[in-house]
């Protein structure tokens, strides 16, 4: 039952079976041990020394006032001494009822001390608080009386002659003997005082003699003892691990107060816990260098055979690291994921470094943090534990950060392989735990693949209720198991919210019943119902079972109730737009009895209203208006809700329409882009769509005879040309496509038919395949001609630029050139030549070469073309 030291954990894993057995035995033994311990500690010497203690305490107080407390003290002491000879066990239990609380506390102190050095500080603080308390008592003697009474009760385990195990303060008595006084926190004392205050009224104490008060107190104590007995019995039945943290601290949240302190106290599913622990253990090789590899592998094999979980295939890679470097815990809030991660990491001997949504998670900061914590270890920490990083709430982290994490885990490994073992430091050698609520956030997609995903099953209600019962007992809350189960159910087995609720109930200071839990609307989680559930709520009237019989609610009252319910549901869901769309697309399918259509009109008005408001919200970012949208749902509920269940379809029509409309816009844009500029200049998208294209579609589908183009009359040819040029103007053509049935068809591209045609009206003539083919060919030809024509147009102004592959060699007539060229002699006189003879020669041959004439120093000589090469 006790905590296992780190060194023993390996051992624990090795001999798990045996340990399990031992543990159960120990568990029961441990409990007994505790009881024994309880009984042994208080003994007479302490009781006797009690008086001394009191004296010391009150030494400086007014002498006269001490007399009264002393009186009680002696009485008390005598009582204990008389009974003490008999059955010691009973005495204490009877007298002090729930005393083992204190003893538990003591125990926890021991452990804490062993574990944590900081406890010294705490002890000091507590000491200071104690002194402050005394000072207070001096100031207010009446309170001192009370505190004596209180001390009285606890004296036996608060004073000792030997060095005690709890935190203490030493005092030397006048005779030189050392006394050890236990230190309590102020808060603890206050609580206890309050308890006693409750037991005996303070006012009574003033008026009556103390004997009477004491008698009264005893009666009360007896009563309490009965209750305590019951509780004890329950405690035995449950045999749950005790809660170590028993200091009652009002400032602390219960969630923290009753946080599991040890691995065994974890509430979450045991198999999940074990898996995570095992994963941590796999890191031991590289982190602690604790175990030879071979042995560990054998160990793993054992695990696999034993657990036989397909997902749990953990192997070590070549560097002795687990195959999965990251573990990803996911589950809904309040299951104890963070607690488990912390607990297990601590248990496995790591120092936890937590990064959560409250930290800066930009890539740079993250990188620094990651490197710091994986490659260094804390110097300040005495234990020098290796770090373990826990990324809490990773589903909210930016994608770049997650990508970096993945790169860090994978990338560095590859880098190392390249550069051999030089970059030892950059390899990830520390376990990383990621925690998320929603596993399927897009950012986590890649992380999911490389991480070992552990899904958290919901906590069992019974287990949770047991723990709550335990806490309730400790906090003096009167609550029965049924109510607790109801509570668990209400919060959806969320430990955190259960505890917060209990904390709230404590403040009520009255017994909590099942009906109370059901009635209060506190603690209802702001749970998002599913889309369909919300729609169902709107379209269906749900009569509550109880209220039907209990009281005949008036019409207004039920309406009010329905309205409130709808408002609440809708508000919780939040996505009004999708809800509205769903209602809009479904309301006509309801079996509505609204022959006058008045209701429909009203509903439509509200649809319009919400649309206008939503538009206003989005354009002006005025989200205050969103409040008004939700009232529409109430109206629609009143109008459309029926008692019977009716099928609701997901509103997909709106989306389909949107996509189709976008497609149409795209088509039209395609046409507009391709149109001839001088046509485009006179029209734009809207007139095109409304006037031109529908009629154009008619114009370009005349009744042609399906014969060869050569058989067409001139008139038909003209018409064909007209169509072709019109189609070119508007950038239309027919393209061949394969129909789903396999044959080829010609379709318009861009498909004007899609733009202009509506179902069931205006059936247009469809041209036969051959005509379409003909037109398509003509369009292509015409386009070519157009290009050529534009070229010839251009050639008038510029030189003709024909692409190389279209160039042909042409015979260049030399005639004009020769005529232009005027040969001059050295002195610039024009030489008149009879060029006719030359011309004749030139024109005879296909090729003709001409040398540029000019002055040249080079020697001229005749050369044959064949000798060139």
């Amino acid at each position: 039952m006790d905590e296992y030291p780190n060194e023993d954990e390996e051992f624990e894993l090795m001999y798990e079976d045996e340990l399990e057995l031992i543990r159960t035995q120990q568990g029961s033994e441990g409990d007994y041990g505790i009881h024994n311990y309880n009984l042994i500690t208080p003994n007479i010497p302490t009781a006797v020394s009690n008086t001394k203690n009191d004296e010391i305490v009150n030494e400086s107080a007014a002498e006269s006032l001490i007399e009264e407390p002393e009186l009680t003290l002696t009485e008390e002491v005598s009582k204990t001494s008389t009974q003490e000879n008999g059955t010691k066990k009973r005495t204490i239990e009877e007298l002090f009822g729930d005393i083992d609380d204190i003893l538990y506390d003591e125990r926890s102190h021991n452990k804490k001390k062993a574990k944590n050095n900081h406890d010294d500080d705490f002890a000091l603080i507590e000491h200071i608080l104690e002194l402050r308390k005394l000072a207070k008592e001096r100031q207010y003697p009446l309170m001192a009386t009370k505190s004596v009474n209180c001390n009285d009760v606890y004296v036996k385990d608060n004073l000792s002659y030997e060095v005690p195990k709890y935190s203490f303060e030493t005092i030397t008595r006048f005779d030189g003997k050392r006394l050890y006084i236990r230190c309590h926190s102020e808060k603890f004392l206050e609580e206890e005082m309050n308890k006693i205050n409750k037991k005996g009224t303070f006012a009574g104490c003033m008026g009556e003699t103390f004997k009477d008060v004491w008698k009264e107190a005893q009666v009360l104590l007896n009563k309490q003892m009965d209750v305590g007995d019951n509780d004890d019995q329950q405690n035995m039945d449950v045999s749950e691990p005790s809660l170590t943290c028993e200091r009652e601290n009002g400032a602390q949240l219960w969630v923290d107060l009753y946080k599991p302190q040890r691995y065994l106290e974890l509430l979450s599913d045991e198999s999940t816990n074990r898996i995570l622990l095992k994963w941590f253990k796999l890191w031991d090789k590289i982190v602690f260098n604790r175990r030879p590899k071979a042995k560990l592998k054998k160990e793993i094999n054992k695990f696999n055979s034993k657990f036989d979980r397909s997902e749990f295939t953990m192997k070590l890679d070549d560097q002795g690291r687990p195959e999965y470097k990251i573990v990803l815990l996911c589950g809904s809030p309040g299951l104890g994921k963070t607690t488990l991660a912390h607990m297990v990491a601590k248990h496995a001997g790591y120092n936890v470094v937590e990064v959560n949504a409250s930290d800066d998670r930009s890539t740079e900061t993250f990188k620094r943090m990651l490197e710091n914590s994986t490659q260094m270890s804390s110097v300040i920490d005495k234990d020098r534990r290796p770090n373990c990083i826990i990324f809490d709430e990773i589903d909210g982290a930016p994608t770049t950060t997650i990508d970096f994490l993945i790169k860090y885990v994978n990338g560095t490994a590859s880098k190392k392989r390249k550069k051999d073992s030089k970059e030892q430091g950059s390899v990830l050698k520390r376990p990383i735990v990621c925690i998320c609520n929603d596993l399927y956030v897009p950012a986590l997609r890649s992380l999911r693949q490389i991480a070992f995903v552990v899904n958290f099953p919901p906590t069992a209600s019974v287990r949770l209720a047991e723990r709550l019962q335990e806490i309730a007992r400790r906090q003096n809350i009167n609550i029965n198991t049924g109510a607790l189960l109801a509570l668990c159910e209400k919060t959806g087995n969320d430990i955190r919210s259960c505890l917060s609720l209990m904390h709230f109930f404590q403040s009520l200071k009255k017994p909590i019943t099942l009906s109370y839990i059901n009635r209060t609307n506190v603690g209802q989680k702001d749970m998002q119902k599913g889309l369909f559930a919300v729609w169902q709520d709107i379209f269906q009237i749900q009569y509550s079972r109880k209220n039907d019989q209990e009281n005949e609610l008036s019409y207004e009252a039920t309406m009010k109730k329905r309205m409130q319910k709808i408002l609440q549901v809708v508000h919780a869901f939040g996505d009004y737009e999708r809800l509205i769309q769903g209602i809009f697309e479904n309301y006509l399918n309801r079996q509505l009895k609204d022959s006058s259509l008045h209701g429909i009109c009203k509903a439509c008005e509200w649809f319009c209203f919400t649309d206008v408001v939503n538009n206003q919200i989005y354009t002006s970012q005025n989200y205050n208006l969103a409040t008004y949208v939700q009232y529409g749902f109430v109206i629609w509920h009143y109008l459309f809700a029926t008692a019977t269940w009716q099928r609701i379809n997901y509103p997909s029509v709106g989306y389909e329409v949107k996509t189709k409309a976008t497609k149409q816009v795209g088509l039209l844009e395609e046409i507009v882009k391709g149109m001839k500029p001088n046509v485009r200049a006179f029209t734009s998208a809207n007139p095109l769509k409304l006037d031109v294209l529908p009629l154009l579609a008619n114009i370009i589908t005349p009744a042609f005879r399906p014969v060869n183009i050569h058989l067409y009359t001139q008139k038909e040819k003209d018409q064909l040309n007209l169509i072709v040029s019109a189609m070119i103007d508007y950038h239309l053509n027919y393209v061949q496509e394969r129909a789903p049935e396999g044959h080829f068809i010609y379709v318009m591209d861009p498909n004007v038919e899609d733009i202009v045609s509506f179902p069931s009206v205006g059936m247009r003539r469809v041209l036969p395949y051959s005509i379409k083919q003909l037109i398509a060919r003509e369009v292509e030809l015409e386009k070519m001609r157009g290009i050529e024509k534009s070229k010839t147009d251009n050639s008038r102004t510029k030189k003709e630029t024909v692409p190389n592959h279209l160039q042909h060699l042409k015979v260049n007539s030399v005639k004009p050139k020769v005529q232009k060229m005027v040969s001059k002699d050295f002195f610039g006189r024009i030489i008149t030549q009879s060029s006719t003879s030359k011309m004749e020669i030139n024109s005879k041959h296909d090729l003709w070469y001409q040398y540029k004439e000019g002055y040249n120093n080079a020697v001229r000589k005749r050369i044959k073309v064949s000798s060139l090469k």
Partner: protein
């Protein structure tokens, strides 16, 4: 340029078929050196663009007709890349800022500043200003309109704006006051008839007056539609006959069918099927105002006179709401439901009165 609409479009102010006085004035305007910003407005198919191009031609000569299409790129402050098609010549640029939706302000600011800040290099022989033609300015967002108004004054030395809109009602008064408004009203039926006959004559066809009259009436005084209808008729059947079938745009027929459906039966089932039809219209991108207008005019046809006023006021109300809203289908359906309710109530009342 083979469709009749394109082929027989007048290219010169002096050749315009109707609004001749206006054309005269415009000609005078262009001949003087000073030239204000223009706001040309009028219904679709009345000839706004034709007049704008005529004005430009008058200003700069036939060079304006050498048009080219260019794609301009803009970047919004939020680093969103925008593309917009422009039609331009050496002297002018035409742009439809509402093509880029809510980012029209960026286009207006960037484009106009760019164009306006560069001065015409070759001053002699040309005008010292360039022209920016903005179309569909009534779809401009308020932001864009505000961005426009100062620019208009600041760069008046270098550029002139010609705005084209269907109605001035959605333009801010600031813009309206900075422009010379030119209203191009739709041609009358007789004008359309003469134009149609002129076109057919030039095509060498014989168009019976009855048919021309019918086409003109069906075209809703939209000249573009009328000429296209006429050509469609020719493709359908030639020689023309006076009572031949005139092809109309499908969406018009479709809305008519919807109106018929609504008038026939007023029930939730009808409403459900009408919703599907309305969705179909929205998919095809028919502007909401057009849907409303056509639907109302069709519905009102078979209404009692007492009911007409209510229906029209209701339609106005719902259309107004639609302008403020986002989801057209809500408003359209709301109007249809309202009509059904009113119509049914009216019928029941009259039947009740009869007994």
């Amino acid at each position: 340029m083979s469709l009749w609409v394109d082929k027989y479009r007048p290219k010169d102010l002096s050749k315009l078929d109707y609004h001749k006085d206006q054309a005269e004035n415009l000609k005078k305007l262009t001949q003087r050196g000073d030239f204000p910003h223009l706001l040309v407005y009028g219904p679709s198919g009345a000839g706004k663009k034709t007049r704008i191009m005529c004005i430009l031609k008058d200003l700069y000569g036939p060079g304006v007709e050498r048009l080219r299409m260019e794609q301009l790129n803009f970047t919004t402050p939020s680093k969103k890349k925008l593309e917009i098609m422009t039609v331009s010549s050496n002297y002018h640029i035409e742009i439809n800022p509402s093509d880029v939706g809510i980012y029209d302000r960026v286009v207006v600011m960037d484009l106009i500043k760019n164009v306006a800040q560069t001065q015409q290099l070759d001053v002699n022989g040309q005008r010292e200003f360039k022209v920016i033609v903005l179309t569909d300015v009534d779809d401009l967002s308020k932001d864009a309109q505000h961005a426009l108004r100062r620019t208009m004054e600041k760069y008046i030395a270098n550029c002139r704006l010609i705005l084209s809109a269907n109605s001035t009602s959605r333009l801010t008064p600031a813009i309206r006051s900075r422009c010379l408004g030119i209203r191009v009203s739709a041609p009358t039926i007789t004008e359309i008839v003469t134009i149609l006959q002129g076109v057919c004559k030039r095509e060498g066809l014989n168009l019976p007056t009855e048919l021309a009259q019918r086409i003109a009436e069906k075209s809703n005084r939209n000249l573009r539609r009328a000429i296209l209808m006429c050509e469609a008729c020719k493709v359908e059947q030639y020689p023309f006959s006076a009572n031949q079938n005139i092809a109309e745009p499908d969406w018009l027929l479709f809305i008519r069918a919807i109106a018929r459906k609504i008038s026939q039966e007023q029930s939730i089932n009808t409403l459900a099927s009408v919703r599907g039809d309305l969705y179909e219209l929205i998919i095809h991108g028919i502007p909401n105002t057009i849907i409303f207008q056509t639907l109302v005019s069709e519905l009102v046809k078979n209404c009692d006179i007492t009911l007409k006023a209510t229906i029209i006021s209701q339609a106005a109300l719902f259309e107004h709401r639609l302008q403020h809203g986002n989801k057209a289908i809500f408003h359209l359906e709301a109007f249809v439901a309202k009509y059904m309710y009113l119509y049914k109530k009216f019928l029941e009342d009259t039947i009740g009165d009869a007994f």
